[in-house]
Symmetry: C2
């Protein structure tokens, strides 16, 4: 049967001061009125039921996620420590197989904004079918809309059928010129939307991913703490997809955004005629291409361009939009009494 695995990691820094470790972006209504985590589960309706939807999260988030996503308690897998994506996905896939020997798994993240849920389900359905038909690990590649340097790219290889291809190679976080070349060559973004049968995934791990494979006996013994203690943190892309020969790619035919920065709100929220995105009460006078978020006070902008202005959780942040991608550098510079906020 079909299972879904939702990864709900993230340290809550990119949307400071709105996001916090206790209330990270996937639990915030960044793109609309629901959180992206809630949307992620709703979007699976008709494809995978809640009883077969697993979420992997840290201890600080698990209870809140279970509550907000209305999942069975046993479907929330609590990571003893963050160890990148390979251990989380392999554990969840192993768990799906433990409950369902013939499990096939769709893996996704809780912080995505997807334009068309029906198209998403159609693509996911195709990816799962491809994984079964070709007995491969399937990655869904998104058609790039910009030469983004923060993503990995997939260069498709030879056709496997009408919709699936093998993967020629991966290119992780290219520079801007390379990203443009990749776009021109038809490369796709490696979004993290994957499909596989549990049996194929676990066989590939055994063959290619010793960093996690050597810890599998701990899982078999039911000792998740030891499993996470024994693994070497590694991403599923680097630790498995780039190493395995049994990978396929299908195209994602829907708008997709991982809303990685405050500036990303200009892609996923409606803009006024001056290109501004406003959430909360604000007046923008002679101002263009700004992102404004207020959780309390009216914000007045006068004669400014491409600024991010946020009031949230008792903090006010003002920065140019092009600094939104380097929030970590800012947070490292803040004194703890300013940085640490509580919702």
């Amino acid at each position: 049967m079909r299972w879904a695995v939702l990864l709900a990691g993230g340290s809550g820094t990119r949307f400071w001061p709105l996001s916090t470790p206790e209330n990270p972006k996937q639990l915030l209504p960044l793109a609309g009125t629901n959180s992206s985590a809630e949307d992620a589960v709703e979007r699976l309706a008709g494809l995978v039921p809640r009883e077969r939807t697993l979420v992997v999260a840290g201890a600080g988030l698990a209870a809140r996620l279970q509550d907000r996503l209305r999942l069975p308690p046993e479907n929330v897998l609590v990571e003893p420590r963050a160890a990148s994506t390979a251990p989380a996905l392999i554990w969840a896939t192993w768990e799906a197989q433990r409950r369902d020997a013939d499990a096939e798994v769709l893996s996704l993240h809780t912080d995505w904004v997807v334009g068309d849920a029906a198209a998403f389900r159609q693509t996911a359905d195709m990816a799962l079918a491809t994984a079964r038909r070709h007995d491969r690990l399937v990655t869904v590649g998104m058609v790039p809309s910009r030469p983004e340097t923060g993503y990995g790219y997939i260069v498709p290889g030879t056709p496997l059928d009408d919709t699936a291809r093998s993967v020629a190679r991966f290119s992780e976080k290219p520079d801007a010129a390379t990203a443009l070349d990749l776009m021109a060559a038809g490369a796709l973004w490696n979004s993290g939307l994957f499909a596989w049968t549990a049996s194929r995934l676990l066989a590939e791990v055994a063959a290619h991913t010793p960093e996690v494979g050597r810890a599998m006996p701990a899982l078999a013994a039911g000792d998740v703490d030891r499993f996470f203690g024994d693994v070497v943190p590694i991403s599923i892309d680097v630790g498995l997809l780039e190493r395995s020969g049994a990978v396929a790619v299908v195209r994602g035919e829907f708008a997709w955004d991982d809303v990685g920065t405050w500036q990303a709100l200009t892609r996923v929220r409606p803009k006024d005629t001056n290109g501004n995105v406003v959430v909360g009460e604000a007046v923008l006078h002679e101002s263009q291409d700004c992102v404004v978020w207020s959780d309390r006070d009216p914000i007045v902008l006068y004669g400014v361009q491409e600024l991010v202005v946020v009031q949230a959780n008792g903090r006010i942040l003002v920065m140019p939009a092009d600094r939104a991608a380097s929030m970590k550098q800012l947070l490292d510079a803040l004194p703890p009494e300013v940085r640490d906020v509580r919702p």
Copy 2:
């Protein structure tokens, strides 16, 4: 005897959202820990006592000013309506003469920041002595530190004695090129610091200022409402000083600022090594030449230059420093529910 007249007008717009009609800038601790109105009275210590210090203000401010400045109630003159500076100064001078037939008057504003109180008193003393000695209206000219286009300039004429000159002409709010020419020619800012004997002032008004002179019978009859009803609003500069031949100018030998905009705080407050002025809790990371004021939340600036960022009275304002001089344009554009704040 010597009297002081403090003008406490102003509509409270230039320091929005901190200043309000009920709490305008002269009552705010813009430059330090005291308000400029309190500083203005303290600065007169030894020169003019509180018993002979009059303040002219609108009805909304009178009670608060009397309380904050610790003045006798009868020394607070409540304008029935705002009518520019000539009616206010003429009324106050008339009132000083009513109480003291030989009154000489020093006129000043409550919103000034003065660098050196002793030098201020020395100049004021000299201006009063000059007014008596030459029987002229004396204006204290400030040495310009920048080609300010928002002020009036005084071009000094022939010497009257070692420290006083006649006035060759006034130049009100010149354009930038003219302001540079005026500075080069030794012109001085017309600050509004004046000295005169009451008898000379009232004689000059009778001769040159029909806009107010025709209303004097109402004052003689003790009817202030009718006086303000009968006058034509006009400034003392346009209505009298530019018309009278009996004017003298002395140089003000002290730092003076009327703190006309948020940007002016960079002149009257200490700056950090990056040129920023911060009042309240804030962290400025890779940011230069900003003015930050917070009455509640920590404000974080990241990678910005020459911005004004203010949180006050439940509003947040963000604008470039060069917009600080056109606050009225902004306030005219704000909906009342955002514009109207209460301290």
